[in-house]
Symmetry: D2
Subunit: 338 residues, 4 copies
């Protein structure tokens, strides 16, 4: 249903990059969960551009909680979080009203919204909206942690490099050329019980992928061995099983903790590919949508040469929200608070 | 919502491999669409095992339409399709009640359903259930075709081979060894207008992946260049644009026809990886879930050394159902019939 | 979502009065619940016309369970129930293809489905479809009973009469004149805990009314004192409270067990009004929808002079399904089986 | 899904009476619709207490539009509206943390949220939250009007009186005694085409009632003749039909414009009963939820002796939102903007 996701624990997103505020409504949180405002702030900081690897746009991300929290705990009613937009340079984007940035959503937004979209800074398509997702996730992650469930997303590679120094060198080199690079994130969820998920259609893979593909620039997702399964034999990759005390475990985890759409008690693991940021300073061919003629574009405005590192906390937050939703659906409304 | 998918055009699946029947309810189809029963039968035939590359289980798949069709056309009310199960050798599976096949859903089903699942032949997790999806898709595909929209899924590779002869040789070799192989399918949707989809959360990628991950053995999906984006520069892979008459087109289609979650008018393209069939005759370590002790298993019963070729029509059907749902949501209930 | 209702426990209806079969898919039932086939049959018998008070159409309602039940218990996967249509006199209804019965859904069905609906016997709008609802409810009611929750619907009045003898006399008099009568049903749900429901928008009243208005001929619903509140003072009708052991109770139950959309532990009570059956033999003015001209109609075919008594078990079944859905959402997937 | 309603056009509510702000997210509005801020303000004024008939609490209801509007028109992305809470006298309500007001949601909220609810001023259950619904409706009503669809809710009776002067006298008398009165509202929707709605389960009656029962104090709803059907003959109340030019009309409208769950082109009409405001100054028996002992309560704080007149615009707004949702589902995303 458009800007809302989740069955039992839902998130509704709103906002445009250069509007008054962005935000989220988190509904279905059980009552009585402690709200850790410092943790929320620290997660927002992880997403924020903070050095030469990112856009110079600086937002304090000073969020407000408008509802759903009373005396430091969730009330069980919808939590509305807003984050005002402050450091907006709208004039940088005037040209983008009619010149469509290749591979950015400018053109598809124009088709979808018949030209009425707020085009400034990518509007509702801006990566900035993910700050609201991160804030929503930060209500849920500590509650999952108390249940022994941890979500962690790390950089697997950027521009083909796995070592941090080399990765950063590639980002800076791209920046110097007015270009951009992509990469792969790897996520693991530990502590999740066996038996969560459905065979049709709310598989764990299906629920996670549905949400993760909303994160701008994500173009692929694979669970466990993923595309690595394509040239393997069943006997090589089947996750053979053994008894470990009262539990059943697997010697390997090629299925990424999910079989038949349902968790098997092993860690959930998946990789997400992030395409290179589409906004680059290099000249590219594009169209002027008003005059309907060919033109070229060299992006001005502030933009990121790479968003892989900033996207990690977003993937983590979205994953936590989906997992929490599935658990609340299975174990009931108040389970997360117990 | 569990066994139902879709917003405006929905499919509800039911059935177990060795129960009375499997089937689907297709709801939201506009009234007045011609039902091509021969086409439905031909799509079911594409899915059916038919030669040495597949399981010897032979099902005629003689479906019945119980409702929603009158005088050869859809009535606009729910279409219930049932396919009886006939060629069931339930005794082959007795051991599988307690011996869990590695990488198959036996164990996760047991966790999810507390031991009450119909374990015979994989029960509700059986690939056989996809016949109902194919039947449902076969109501929708001709209507999409009339609108100029075509969906096609082809084998990209099996066991690392792209040429048909080599692929089949690999399947037969695996079969001879009691082993199995996987592969990659590639899907294209042509004729889809620009402007379909949502940025949050019902992106075209998210909607398609949610549904496609229900197909047994799918472990990854990538749109356009997908994981190939990871080590490319923005300037290499951005889809530059030009004016072509009244339309805007791209010189390349690295984004697989979707940007910002929304179609740009280029073909939608994606790859799906299918893991090797988990049921193999080779001996593997597993657990006896009743005795909670280690044991080994060598699958008997009839099974496929490879399901990639059989899965193609399933991916195609699911894709058609998702695309039709998104179009009906956008253009209204009766659009598909116009 | 059209022919599906429920969040965690859903029912999807299909079928037409004179098609091959009608039926329902019940999804979200926890695994391991005993299925009482005799009880299902007995509930269907309650709905079936059986004496001079009803239509002479006789259907055995010999249902089949196609899926979701194994060895006498629910598996946790979707339960598909079908009921074949046998005693169909389709020729009785030929005229009804173009002559619209006043106050029946003939005309609105024609508008909604653009003339492609199966018009025979009311098609998908037939009261016969409620047999599938009753069958679905009969899976749920025994499970609720085990939890101490009982649902009961009784006749409050028919044609203004409350005493059974007088009610039946009114029905027979209407039948003799080729006319019909309506009435009011009263429903009570006992044993439901306090704290079930939501203030916005899934109030218990909202969830129940949404489902109950699907039952053909229902035109109003009121909870507790209902329309009786309109001319009372707050001090007269407020449900004052007291402590009873560990519980809080009310001296009165004018709110019908629901305050702020949420149960307070008192019995849920509501009344439903059933309009007189629209199909009558008396001549009425109507339109010929093909010729678009005025005409008259005197219904032939078999029809009920009153459906209030037959509707009781339908309201009961729908109520049980809604209540079970709300409880499963609150307490988790497996709660109903515990 | 809890605090969200609608399929294609959705409203998500948030906020507590004495929190920072209340608000709504309206999603699914087509792009390009003019936003009439004066109209929004005027609708909020209609809901606001303004004379001796209402509570002395005065809120300016100065709303902010945080997103989804650009250059005076909807962008097609979610519209977040917030209304800050200003005139809060939280100390008036201290006692209400433990003394449960009879027939108010204090006790059910405590059960639902395990004592963590924001109890001040009724929290999330406060009638004040309806201001956000009115604001959301005020985006939709002018767009419906342009399509020729009008929604109007009027007072039918208060405390049994239909004449304005007598009604007001009853309200003032109740106020003087520290008591309260209820009444009935009547709503009409004109200009709605035939063929909108579904037989199962999204009937127009079901969709409207689901939403309307969220409005605090609503305890019953009846369409057309409603409970008046109970003692009538079919021949008396069937809506006989005739041809009027290209249209089909009915001589009467006892079905309130809906037959078989679907509109027939006649005005939709329904009545809603509003119970007397539960908060009264008269002493009542109740419980102290902390000490779990009997006590009495005489409400202090500011409250309304009657909310029927204030509720009219709320019913109107909710009706408009539901109708618009059904139309957008049927005719497509952009229809409302055309």
């Amino acid at each position: 249903m458009k800007n809302t996701i989740g069955n039992s624990l839902t998130v509704t997103l709103f906002g445009e990059s250069h509007g008054k505020a962005i935000g989220a409504v988190l509904d279905g949180m059980p009552s009585g969960i402690e709200v850790d405002e410092e943790y929320i702030a620290s997660q927002l900081t992880r997403r924020r551009p903070k050095d030469a690897l990112s856009t110079p746009r600086q937002e304090k991300d000073e969020y407000s909680i408008l509802s759903g929290v009373f005396e430091g705990r969730t009330t069980g009613t919808p939590i509305c979080i807003t984050i005002p937009n402050a450091d907006t340079h709208s004039k940088d984007y005037g040209e983008m009203q009619y010149k469509m940035r290749p591979s950015h959503a400018d053109y598809t937004a124009n088709c979808r919204y018949n030209g009425f979209q707020d085009y400034r800074g990518g509007g509702h398509f801006s990566g900035r909206i993910t700050a609201a997702l991160v804030a929503a996730g930060a209500f849920v992650i500590p509650a999952l942690n108390k249940k022994g469930i941890c979500v962690s997303t790390k950089i697997k590679s950027i521009a083909g490099e796995t070592a941090e120094e080399k990765r950063n060198a590639k980002i800076l080199a791209a920046k110097a050329e007015g270009d951009s690079v992509g990469g792969v994130l790897e996520t693991a969820v530990t502590g999740i019980p066996a038996g969560v998920g459905e065979p049709w259609f709310d598989t764990v893979e299906g629920m996670l992928s549905h949400a993760v593909f909303s994160i701008p620039a994500v173009k692929g997702i694979e669970f466990g061995l993923g595309f690595g399964f394509a040239d393997k034999m069943g006997s090589e990759v089947n996750d053979q099983m053994y008894v470990d005390g009262d539990n059943v475990k697997c010697y390997t985890n090629n299925n990424g903790g999910i079989i038949g759409g349902i968790t098997n008690g092993m860690p959930i693991t998946f990789n997400t590919v992030i395409k290179p940021t589409p906004t680059i300073s290099k000249e590219q061919n594009t169209v002027d949508i008003i005059k309907m003629e060919n033109t070229t574009i060299s992006a001005r405005g502030r933009h990121d040469p790479c968003i892989v590192h900033r996207a990690a906390v977003v993937v983590e937050s979205v994953t936590a929200l989906v997992i929490a939703d599935m658990l609340v659906s299975k174990y009931g409304t108040d389970w997360l608070a117990k």
